[in-house]
């Protein structure tokens, strides 16, 4: 019996990690030989199937969405942890709202973005519609990581700061925030990953144009969308693999960074 349990548990672990390594290995193996300089030409044409414009668009989208979501998310964390009193009804509602937000499927975000930003506000398929949709999507992630990071800061630090006559704001920004920084940053970095990997929410907000957007109101496509569109067309399998490699490398770097920062936080505790 003991042996059997041990066997089942180990087998499950092998299946899980085997699947992960197989997927990564397969995409890398099939994709790397297909990365050719043509893919990085400035302009997309049907003959070079360049992914460069999608890369730049991804970068723009991530930067803009974080520019909006980070302050809102971090400030929300400040409010929840540093200001709200215990048993505050509003806190309860905010927690419920963020929890619900984090469970909403991306296609529902996509439809909402289409109905609200694209149609109601008249932004059309554009960088700004995509940005705002993505910002709402990652908000719960940033809020939660900020909350957790702030809660892990020793109360003694706050008391010492107050004791020395510092005000609440000064304490938050100069004492608490630096200590909580790695945790908050790892949340922000994971948000980058979420946006980079997003497809369904962006299809009907950012649109699918192949060029680099030249203003907030013009359309584009991110790497994930690019890969999706290539794989549904079925004609550019090699280019899909190559795009997959670029995506995977980005995600690997992002996760590595988040992991490093997470370790730093637990060590600082």
């Amino acid at each position: 019996m003991n042996k059997f349990i041990r066997f089942i548990v180990k087998l499950s672990a092998i299946i899980t990690f085997g699947a992960l390594f197989f997927i990564i290995g397969y995409i890398l193996l099939k994709g790397i030989p297909n990365i050719r300089p043509d893919l990085f030409q400035f302009k997309y044409t049907t003959s070079n199937v360049s992914l460069f414009p999608a890369m730049i668009t991804t970068l723009m989208l991530v930067a803009l969405a974080l520019l909006i979501a980070t302050p809102i998310g971090v400030f929300t964390g400040f409010y929840l942890v540093e200001y709200a009193k215990k048993g505050n009804k509003l806190v309860e509602i905010i927690r419920m709202a963020t929890e619900t937000l984090s469970g909403i499927p991306s296609i529902v975000y996509g439809l909402f973005g289409m109905l609200f930003f694209v149609i109601k506000l008249g932004f059309q398929y554009s960088l700004i519609s995509g940005t705002l949709t993505a910002a709402i999507m990652v908000l719960p992630l940033i809020i939660r990581s900020t909350e957790e990071a702030l809660l892990s800061v020793d109360d003694g630090l706050r008391e010492a700061s107050f004791g020395l006559g510092a005000g609440k704001l000064r304490t938050i920004f100069l004492v608490v925030l630096p200590v909580a920084m790695p945790g908050i940053l790892s949340g922000v970095i994971l948000s980058i990953g979420r946006i980079v990997g997003e497809t369904a929410a962006l299809m009907f907000t950012l649109g699918t144009a192949t060029k680099i957007p030249n203003s907030l109101l013009s359309s584009g496509r991110t790497l994930s969308l690019h890969m999706y569109l290539l794989s549904t067309e079925g004609m550019h399998v090699n280019e899909s693999f190559a795009t997959g490699v670029i995506l995977l490398v980005i995600i690997l770097i992002i996760n590595g960074l988040a992991n490093y920062l997470g370790n730093k936080l637990t060590k600082g505790r």
């Binding site: 349990i5 499950s12 109905l115 704001l169 369904a200 999706y228 997959g244």
Partner: protein, 286 residues
Amino acid sequence: MKTKSFEKFMEIIFLISASMSIVAIILICLFIFAGGIPFISEYGLSNFLFGTIWKPSNNPASYGILPMILGSLYVTVGAIILGVPIGIMTATYLAKFCNKKLYKILKPCINLMAGIPSIIYGFFALTVLVPIIRNIFGGTGMNIITASILLGIMILPTIIGMSEASIRAVPGSYYEGSMALGASHERTIVSVMLPAAKSGILSSVILGIGRAIGETMAVILVAGNQARMPAGLTKGVRTLTTNIVIEMAYAADTHREALIATAVVLFVFILIINGLFMVVKRRGLN
């Protein structure tokens, strides 16, 4: 005095920021429901939910989404059957069987697994799983089985992450008590630790169900997407999510409203799942 008013000012800024998620959730509900409910009330709720034929181009058009509801249900159940046991056992491995050194490598791998974009999972399934399934079962290889395997893999990190945390949260005295009574390490884990962690494990499964129902872009590549009643495990299906994506690009007027109404149904499912999740989690805390 000046700093005091600035303090007050910033507190209000923080409060406004904190209200943004409430505003967002209200806006989302408002726009999705307002976009879909007029259609549902006009077409009839039971006609819409239990209609077995989805043919928007027919005259008169037919908008029954039962095929898609069942499609979502089947692939989700398939994903649960495959993903839950493997996920819970892997979580057990990480929490109780694996040494510290290995854990330091494997834990980030689970996070990585959660971070891999769904399009990569989908593309992998399209190029690897589909041909294998095609060889075994014949047909196109895009069917309920393929989609279930794919989703089963995709929900693993969700289930593992939360289950592992809840297994770790079981007090050590449970373990010691059971060992002192003469039970083996393995026996203790299966009959003491896992039952003690059951509310956390159950929440992880509920979260996994939510993830599976909501998944779109990966499923679209491997499920076949035929908008008809599911005809068997080796036949293609269309889910609620994929129905929206496939037809939204060219839908107009009533057809478009019907798609938004599909999102309403999906959204209600997700809200129910979220509610369930919160209830289970809260009960676990008490």
